[in-house]
Symmetry: C2
Subunit: 379 residues, 2 copies
């Protein structure tokens, strides 16, 4: 039989997505949050793909989260009509927000300071549009956001109120869950995240600002929180694909990792003991975060063309712009399993960074190519 | 006067290119290599932009180097007709190479092993095209390439000869120049690079393979080599833009850095002492190589909107997907110089990685926007 759509025929490097794995990952999170009685507003910053968003929102309200306004516009144009832009808004981005509204979506934006609140509210008023606002709470990561128990929270709400802007609620993100060393620690952080969002909402309510949205979440805290009482929704994202970092956190298993980079072996450097592939720093990213868990994850873990990790383990030990150098404990075995001209699949360290280099996903089902799903990028 | 094309009006993050700096950088390298009597085949892997290639090749043959075949095709379609693909070729990429030829360019390819040599030569013969080959030499980096004094060099040449493929010469890249600690060390590596290429060419000549191209080069070795006798050309690339890594190597000064990321300050986290910008890991890349030279380069060095570094020094200390956290020695001063809503420019650590996130360059001359130069990406 002619294998017209075989993986081996793809030009490399390229990005593969295993359909059954992404379906399983999405279904598991959806069921879990349904069971715990909290809404799911999946973060699409990883996938940036309408087909994946359809899987992730299945059985929920259809609400999504995005990391850029270009992403918001992409989804608004594909019939997603309830979108939270979860990065601090600035007034200069108002024209893009207006485009999102014109495409037919409701857009929730985020601010964490009175200055931005006023500037954005005034720009929206001048453009004649309504942009309901979530106030961002710092639940312990100390990246952005105001303290749930501090004065700034109410100052931001007042600044919005003065310009006639609706305070739609609060949002927080426990990014410090990524620093945890066990599911038990993640559970503790999930409770911090929940409690901070609920406290902030309660204080706003006491000041006359009713919060219809009380939003929290990251993949680890959505995976290991004991309960989410008081929250209206969670915003995990990377769980849709998984990666080596999430596997290190135990938010997924290696077998759950749905997105992989297909690469071609272009040479063997026998004296140095490595194989060379055509997936380097641009194709994989230079994120080495997963080395926190296992040094030998390198820039990615190497599998055969069917997605099974090579044994003994082989990783991308070094990257340059278009070169990846594969090393394992046994070079002879590496050269035998990855001959020149053959294809390998690489599990990414941090799939949000890796996927951003590609225009879309070659969808794989039972080792055959079945579709191409485009993704958006840029700003 | 209405500033219709002011920097402050751009949607951020975006990529700026200072016209006078890129002209100066290109002119300096061009003059130097002309003075030393060696050809310049600039590597376009950093800029990936036809307008920059025109500046870089000005006064030379017009030959260029590329890092992907998509890049080769982009330039072939823009009237560059002498292109070296400087990454090890594999047979599966033959269809792209054929497209480059059909666009009217001569394409030189690179191999470093008999297996690839045979496979590529056979694929080219089957497609009815001629692809002259350079054999890649390992001059000390131990990334790819064969030893200049070893048997494999002649085995590769013989494999090519057997399939009727023309051996056009040799190429090498002293990537280990990036590990040097002084211009004197770089000069030594430049001589290793030159000597390896010349030895390999001499040995091929003795075996009946005349080398019309003897190609070497990296930005550091093209900057600090004492002479290049015996080489026909050098292939530096990142010198066109410069970056913090090259500044650390003393291949450029901070003032030479031509490509910068424009970002908006979206918040101040007063307790944590950082400002937040909308240029994070995707906008800057996660390359931290320049920290080898100065820890406080972080993920980039922060300048005001006119490109002058803030004082005291401020860097992007931490990045997440769409967040960059700016820190300096004096937070009060940072908040004063970078108020919420203002714009900053960020000098990149490794511009090849950073530029890859963008569709092109907003060209800046005397602090005004004067053009947009598109760039290619992907594979």
């Amino acid at each position: 039989m002619k294998r017209a759509f075989a993986l081996a025929d793809l030009t490399t490097p390229c990005l593969l997505l295993d359909r059954s794995k992404v379906q399983r990952n999405c279904g598991r999170m959806s069921m879990r949050l349904k069971g715990l009685g909290v809404g799911l507003r999946p973060h699409m910053k990883t996938a940036k793909c309408a087909e994946v968003a359809a899987l992730a929102t299945d059985g929920h309200s259809g609400a999504i989260t995005v990391s850029t306004l270009v992403e918001a516009l992409w989804f608004a144009q594909r019939n997603f009509d309830d979108i939270l832009y979860a990065v601090g808004m600035s007034a200069d981005k108002l024209p893009l927000a207006v485009q999102v509204l014109e495409a037919g979506a409701e857009l929730l934006i985020t601010v964490d300071n009175p200055w931005s609140a006023s500037a954005v509210a005034k720009a929206a008023a001048a453009a004649g549009v309504e942009l309901p606002v979530l106030i961002e709470i710092d639940c312990g990561q100390h990246r952005a956001g105001v303290a749930a128990d501090g004065d700034t929270l109410l100052q931001v709400a007042d600044a919005l109120h003065r310009t006639g802007t609706r305070v739609a609620g609060v949002m927080t993100h426990a990014g410090h869950s990524y620093c945890c060393n066990s599911p038990a620690e993640i559970e503790t952080v999930a409770e911090q995240e929940r409690a901070a969002a609920c406290l902030a909402a309660e204080r706003l309510g006491q000041s006359g600002h009713s919060c219809s949205t009380i939003s929290a979440g990251s993949t680890p805290t959505a995976t290991y929180g004991r309960h989410y009482r008081g929250l209206t929704e969670l915003r995990p994202g990377v769980y849709q694909f998984g990666d080596l970092y999430q596997a290190g956190l135990k938010s997924c298993s290696l077998d759950d990792i749905a997105a992989t980079v297909l690469a071609t072996v272009t040479g063997h450097h026998r004296r140095a003991g490595h194989a060379i592939v055509d997936a380097g720093a641009l194709a994989l990213s230079k994120d080495i975060g997963a080395q926190r868990f296992e040094q030998d994850f390198g820039y990615g873990l190497v599998c055969d063309i069917d997605g099974t990790p090579l044994h003994p383990r082989v990783s991308v030990a070094h990257v340059e712009q278009e070169h990846g150098l594969l090393r394992g404990t046994n070079a002879t075995e590496l050269f035998r399993q990855a001959p020149i001209g053959s294809k390998v699949r690489i599990l990414p360290n941090h799939v949000c960074m890796t996927a951003a280099a590609y225009p879309g996903y070659h969808l794989v089902a039972e080792s055959q190519l079945v579709d191409f799903w485009p993704r958006c990028g840029g700003w």
